[in-house]
């Protein structure tokens, strides 16, 4: 995949999050501060606009770091900081114009490390890390078993969805939900849910490669 494919990924992520904004916001209203879906949809939509203004020869690194910077500025809140950090770290890891599965795997690992550096969450804390960490592990496992980029991305998307669902029985240890203690149990984490959508978008745009 190349810079144009990465732009297509952000565009697809913006579509999926916009389509599901109401559900994400309702999930957030249950255990967070109730603005996740619409905030993230707005941030991603602005990122798409900014990416459309990039020169045609922009590098993969420029695409993702630009998208990350836009999310930080325009999404606001914890999700803007965390997704912005994830995309910027992923972008910085991409030092070539043509991204194969090995490069994309490295970028996803960097995104996870960035999120964890910033948010200090571990797996099991009921956050986006529960979706993203499983996605990264599944991507690497699929690649080691011989999957191509599209196959590894599909495995990552499926694992992210499983990771999001796995947050339902968890008790939150980060964010506003952590103040609820046992009352946070039984709710899907909105950040894990949006992470699953963003990984689904990645699988969608790489699907054509085969």
């Amino acid at each position: 995949m190349n810079a144009a494919d990465l732009t297509a990924w952000i565009r697809r992520a913006a579509e999926l999050v916009a389509a599901d904004a109401e559900r994400l916001t309702e999930l957030d209203a249950a255990i967070g501060d109730g603005d996740h879906g619409h905030n993230l949809a707005r941030g991603l939509a602005t990122a798409v606009d900014v990416l459309d203004e990039l020169p045609a020869d922009a590098s993969p690194q420029q695409v993702l770091t630009t998208a990350g910077r836009t999310l930080v500025s325009k999404t606001g809140g914890a999700s803007g900081a965390l997704y912005g950090m994830a995309l910027r770290r992923a972008g910085k890891a991409l030092k070539v114009d043509e991204i194969d599965a090995r490069w994309l795997g490295a970028a996803l690992r960097e995104a996870l490390a960035g999120v964890q550096d910033l948010g200090k969450a571990e797996e099991g804390d009921k956050t986006m890390v529960d979706a993203l960490a499983r996605a990264v592990a599944a991507f690497d496992a699929a690649r080691h078993e011989g999957a191509d980029l599209a196959g590894a991305a599909r495995a990552a998307a499926a694992a992210a969805e499983e990771g999001a669902q796995a947050t339902v029985p968890m008790q939150a240890r980060k964010g506003r939900a952590s103040y609820l203690g046992p009352r946070s149990v039984g709710h899907l984490d909105p950040g894990a849910a949006s992470t699953a959508l963003i990984l689904r978008a990645l699988a969608d745009v790489t699907g054509g490669e085969g």
């Binding site: 606001g76 809140g77 900081a81 965390l82 910033l118």
Partner: protein, 128 residues
């Protein structure tokens, strides 16, 4: 060398401004304190861009200490510190008590490390 500047990062514009007002007073108006409260539209929330402009306002070369309330205020402050090309430190401190302690120390002409340490020592003051 100038004095260390302070930035108060809160979800509420009025809370940030109130803490900044208190810190300026405690700092005998010898310390630059800037509020970065709410989102860019003035609603509840946080804004990386507001933090960025607040730091520029108070930075005169001696460094800037960020004091944050909760959640995303902490995250965007951490992110700012990582990205900043200026010397900024997020104090691991309670917002009001940390800002007051930092302002006192900064007004005395202390360096960045001492101001951060003063803010962080605010956790040790018990209330009961």
């Amino acid at each position: 060398m100038g004095k260390v500047g302070l930035v108060v990062v809160s979800h509420s514009r009025r809370l940030a401004e109130g803490v900044a007002e208190l810190a300026r007073e405690i700092g005998m108006h010898r310390v630059r304190v800037q509020a970065a409260g709410g989102d860019v539209d003035g609603g509840l929330g946080t804004s990386f861009d507001l933090v960025d402009s607040a730091v520029r306002t108070v930075d005169d070369g001696a460094g800037v200490v960020l004091l944050a309330d909760i959640g995303s205020a902490v995250l965007i402050s951490r992110l700012f510190v990582e990205e900043a090309d200026t010397t900024a430190v997020l104090a691991d401190a309670p917002l009001v008590e940390g800002a007051v302690a930092a302002a006192s120390m900064a007004a005395a002409g202390a360096d960045l490390d001492a101001v951060v340490a003063a803010a962080q020592s605010a956790y040790e003051v018990r209330k009961s």
